[in-house]
């Protein structure tokens, strides 16, 4: 068996066998699934039913509070009576009290409770009903606008579509922004996470002196490359598992919670339906419509937009480019991290060598907001072509569409630069790795680079 393969195998297996690898591998899909599932579970969880007494001395809110799935409103004649009821019955939760008006528009309303404060749901429902009833009163009394008309007004939406004039396809800039930003950040994290693993691995070999034995069996270059490749494969395995497990988790959730999902969606409809009462039938109708506009169709539009936006991105190309930029960006940085690791005996000393390595990618991430404004501007173009920043910058730009020549140039430069970096790193590494117990400085690094073997 080729010796470099042995090194790769060791580097790979020792890391993949660690519990921390599997914890990280599992945590990400679980988090994703949780982000997806928790709102659904919360929405479908039955809430405790609340009973609220309404005392209206203003005369504006009489009979206007609509009971819902979780809250029932009861009219009570006077505040004294309501107070007695509240202390007599445990099942009552609160009193809404609107005092007699001093001005045409009431200024204050009160929500009284005894010992247990009413839930946030109750508070917000009371609040929103108060505002809505008041608004409707003013609209109708002062402006003569019926709630029906108002619902029409607020429900009316015009949908702005940003389109490519040639293809007539939607631009979906926001979704592209999210996808591009996510990819850029992912590759940034991955390069540093696995790059620093390489550095720590090299330091482990140097400080434990095991390297002295190993370089008798293989060339330092082979040891370094074996480590870089082995850990890179760990990274690819992690990504593959994340993708796979996230897919499985999401799919599983969707199947297991199909009814729950549906329930959560149909909730709106039921709520609206139960709100109907004879007195406000017409009004309810209008509200219904508004609700459909506001939540139903509005959401449908957004979802549809998102789906279309997502499908407008060429994911095959995206995944290929992600793998390419991760692999080459990682190799480029990991070899330099290996050189940095070979120069130091402990992690605290590594700062002076790792800091310059982190600057290009960190700068790219920090400049992303500027690139968001102009994904094809000159800043974004330069950063996506220069090899040290291109893995992050180019991946960010890809969803927006990048001219082929720029992708080719960026990839070509990266492919040409990475062996140069590896050679440089190897030159530093093979000398520095055997220099124990001395603090190496930048001037030593330049000496090592000039040194002939």
């Amino acid at each position: 068996m080729n010796k470099i393969l042995l090194v790769i195998q060791r580097e790979y297996l020792t890391r993949v066998k660690k519990p921390s690898f599997w914890i990280l591998t599992l945590v990400v899909p679980i988090l994703l699934a949780a982000v997806y599932a928790i709102p659904i579970i919360l929405a479908s969880r039955p809430l405790e039913h609340a009973h609220v007494l309404v005392v209206d001395d203003s005369g504006l809110f009489q009979g206007q509070f609509r009971s819902g799935r979780n809250i029932t409103y009861h009219e009570a004649g006077s505040l004294d009576y309501a107070k007695r009821q509240l202390s007599a019955h445990d099942s009552l939760d609160a009193i809404v009290f609107i005092p007699a008006r001093e001005t045409s528009i009431p200024q204050d309303a009160f929500l009284y409770y005894q010992s247990d404060a009413p839930s946030v749901t109750v508070q917000s429902d009371v609040n929103s009903q108060l505002q809505e009833i008041l608004r409707n009163c003013i609209l109708l009394d002062v402006h003569g606008i019926t709630p029906d008309d108002y619902a029409l007004l607020t429900g009316a939406r015009i949908h702005l579509r940003t389109q490519d004039i040639e293809t007539g396809r939607d631009g979906f800039l926001q979704i592209k922004l999210v996808v591009g930003g996510l990819l850029a950040f992912l590759v940034f994290m991955a390069v540093f996470m696995f790059g620093s693993q390489v550095m720590r691995g090299v330091m482990e070999e140097k400080t434990s002196r095991v390297v002295e034995v190993i370089v008798c069996s293989i060339k330092p270059f082979q040891l370094m490359m074996g480590k870089v490749v082995g850990i890179g494969l760990v990274g690819l395995t992690q990504f593959a598992l994340w993708t796979l497990l996230s897919g499985v988790a999401m799919g599983g959730l969707r199947i297991a919670n199909a009814d729950m999902f549906q329930q959560a969606q149909s909730r709106n409809v039921t709520q609206i339906a139960t709100k109907g009462s004879e007195a406000t039938a017409q009004y309810q109708n209008a509200r219904d419509q508004a609700a459909r506009y506001e939540s139903g169709e509005g959401v449908d539009h957004a979802v549809q937009d998102m789906l279309e936006g997502v499908s407008s991105i060429n994911f095959g190309l995206l995944i290929c480019l992600f793998v390419f930029y991760f692999v080459f960006g990682y190799m480029l940085y990991a070899s330099l991290f290996a050189a940095a690791g070979s120069l130091v005996d402990n992690e605290t000393d590594s700062q002076q060598f790792t800091l310059p390595l982190t600057v290009p990618l960190l700068l790219t991430i920090l400049l992303l907001p500027a690139m968001i404004n102009e994904p094809s501007g000159s800043l974004a173009q330069w950063f996506s072509i220069i090899p040290f920043t291109s893995p992050v910058a180019m991946l960010f730009r890809i969803p927006f569409g990048v001219p082929i020549w720029q992708i080719a140039l960026s990839m070509g430069l990266l492919v040409v630069t990475f062996p140069l970096c590896i050679l440089m790193a190897a030159k530093i590494y093979r000398t520095a790795i055997l220099r124990y117990g001395q603090k190496l400085m930048w001037k030593d690094v330049f000496n090592f680079l000039r040194m002939k073997h």
Binding site: L6, S208, V213
Partner: protein
Amino acid sequence: MLQINHITKHFGDYKALDDVSIHVRKGSIFGLLGPNGAGKTTLIRIVNHIIGPDQGELLFDGRPMTQADVDQIGYLPEERGLYKKMKVGEQAIYLARLKGLDKATAESRLHEWFDRLEIDSWWNRPVEELSKGMQQKVQFVVTVLHQPKLLIFDEPFSGFDPVNADILKREMLHLRNQGATIIFSTHNMPSAEELCDEIALINHSRVVLSGALSDIKSQHPGCDLDRIFIDTVTHTK
């Protein structure tokens, strides 16, 4: 077995080895002596092809030494080290395979050695749980496992208690008797005197004294090796 001919090595302006020539005969124990910083470790690294010489050549079994010959060397460095988190057995097999042994052979030989040195029960324990002396034993086994023709021990007794040092001494002689050639670098003159057939004393990057131990001793009547060492080193300042 090993001929080191006129080796010179610079590190920048510093001359680490200056025209060093040594002949190690097959089946002998050769003592490589000298004060700290004399250039012993540099010479050993050149023999191991870890670094290359500026001038000079190495002959292995009479022909120019190649990278493949390095697999015929077992090297126990002065700076010992193993992967701390890796299990003893797994690690020993890995290091043996890097020297070109196949997995099955490595495993069976390891069990033999570990049995003999009474460390077999540690097979599945991570190295960091072993005592320093145990780790040294493991490292010794790893050094000799691929049955190298040439063994290089750099300060092999440092870190061993007297009992284990004695076991090590016995094993060294045993290996020599089986046909291995041993280069033995040390500051411990009594053990050099006890084990070596020939010696070379390096001081300030040059060989200042070399030859069969018996010849050297007869040239310095009444002196032990310690005395000879000190006299030669102070003399060649």
